[in-house]
Amino acid sequence: MALSQSLPGGQVQRRDKFRKYMRAFNPTARAQDVIEAGLVFEDLHRSVYLNLAGRADLEPGSQQLLVGGIGSGKTTELVLASRWLREQGNVLPLYIDITSETDLSGLNSGSLLASFGIHLAIRLLESPGLPKDSADRLNALYGKIKEYAYGKVESVWVSYDDEDSGQEYDDRDDYDDAPRGHYTTRTIPGKLQPPLPALLRDVRGIREPLERLLTAAREVHKDIVVIFDGLDRLLAADKFSAVAYQDFRLFRSLDVSVLAAAPISILYGAGRSISEQFDRVQHLAVIAGGHGRGFLQSVLSKRGGYELLSPTEADSICEYSGGVLRDLISLARDAAEEAYVSGHASITPSDVDKVVRQLGTSYLRGLGPTAVQTLRDLEKSKSFQVDMPTNIELLVTRRVLEYTSTDFRVHPALLSVLSKTKG
């Protein structure tokens, strides 16, 4: 008999209960998987995804940004938008996580277009019952776009008469009319080359094949919407602009609607001038307390959190998450792990205290004295100069949370640790 089965207290049942809970609270799980598992509370952000998708559907060529801090739920909203558009039946949404396509540090003009072209071509080639002549045309376009995206190796004739060839011509060669040279290969890099630095190239090179591809796509689907996720990893607004500006201009001229995740720095300082170029900039703010706290608890409930959490401990986790969704999920998971290894039947106040302290300490690590003073000043006087680059960094790294355009607060978990340190 296995040792565990001979133990008192239903040890196996306890472990299974905790394992089930932990599966539902994975802060790094793919949004698609979490949605398919039915664990997402879709009304959390008052269905932002519906507004984004609706506008993309109604206004072909429109361009919208979804801006939010790290862990705010942007990917989930974009995936939900994609799903809604697909359900409408007359729109082809293409969700592209650009970070899984290429190394963003090498991203430059043309890369978004290249990625879009690849996805569109593959989707069209997968259409059931595609006539052969259509498939041949699409394959030819696909080939051109692939060359643009990934580069190509081509043969180049090098004449022996070329002084740079380094080749010598033998006067005694019997084949006097043979071509005087040889073939060699030359590699032309493409736009999606991780991680080598990409060359700056004109986006016009991809326009013609994309236009023809879109013509073919619109024979089947009325409109095309491209959803770019991952661009928010370009933390600085100017980097985002360098990557997106030219590509987004071409998307607009091609009447392709665009939804894109963008960094929170877009909302402040120099980033504002970039956000003005878009039809809508939707801010996914942090979920505030009060009425908002009911929403956070709904997130926990949807994932079965109350199997191990009492209402009091759930409230505590909601409060100390600050309304940051990933932190909410992390705290709920870590508290369960702490309860399990401590031998508790469910999550206790001491379990929650410990993981809140851990999270707060992790936010505290690496903060210099100036930044700590800024946080103390914010807590004391509610004063925060949001356009200062050092303060934008505090927003980006989630030490400071934005509840509205004027309501900024220190992350509650960090605040709980700060209050215990000297200051």
């Binding site: 296995a2 040792l3 565990s4 133990l7 008192p8 040890q11 802060p27 790094t28 793919r30 790290i70 862990g71 996580d97 970070t99 899984s100 190394d103 963003l104 540090s105 991780p194 991680p195 080598l196 991952g230 990893r233 370009l234 933390l235 990933r326 932190d327 992390s330 705290l331 870590d334 401590s342 031998g343 993981v355 851990q358 999270l359 707060g360 300490t361 992790s362 936010y363 690590r365 690496g366 903060l367 210099g368 960094e393 980006v396 790294t397 989630r398 978990a413």
Partner: protein
């Protein structure tokens, strides 16, 4: 902790992880391993344990690049960052997406080579003994006779007793 102690602690961590999780553990030095190969290395295989180590701050450029390829870091097996203290500010500032994934899971290793003090070790052994209603000798005896299940708690128990050789 001093570099020599850190290397010893890293080797101990590698051994402990392999024992506890019953999987091989690979270590990649972020300063030495070619960055462009890192994404591929993490997925060949993708289910073992990986430690990404840095004894000095590898610099903002590497952290930013690592943050940008965060999706490439997603794999079946766990990833543990083993970093010197001076790396943490850089990671927080230049790789905030990775830091968000880590959440509260940042722990400081003590100069004694482990995160657990002797008091902690004894406390944990007592917890396990009370929970399973078994003594340390009984656990060792069952491990020697091959009747101890290879579940994480029992492996941990043996490691805490210094009997990782019986795993």
């Amino acid at each position: 902790m001093p570099l020599q102690d850190s290397e010893k602690a890293l080797n101990n961590l590698r051994t402990d992880l392999s024992s506890l999780l019953q999987k091989p553990t690979r270590v990649f030095n972020l300063q030495d391993h070619p960055f462009e190969q890192l994404g591929e290395s993490l997925h060949q295989p993708g289910d073992d344990v990986v430690i990404l180590a840095a004894t000095v701050d590898p610099g903002s450029a590497l952290w930013s690049s690592l943050d940008l390829i965060r999706s490439a870091l997603e794999r079946k097996g766990p990833i543990i960052f083993w970093l010197s203290a001076d790396c943490v500010p850089s990671l927080s500032e230049h790789a905030p997406n990775i830091r968000s994934f880590i959440g509260g899971g940042i722990f400081a290793a003590g100069p004694d080579g482990g995160m657990m003090t002797e008091e902690d070790r004894q406390s944990r052994l007592q917890q396990l003994a009370e929970h399973y209603q078994l003594t340390n000798d009984e656990i060792v005896s069952r491990a020697l006779s091959g009747t101890l299940p290879s579940e994480p708690h029992f492996i941990e128990w043996l490691v805490l007793l210094g009997r990782g050789d019986l795993v």
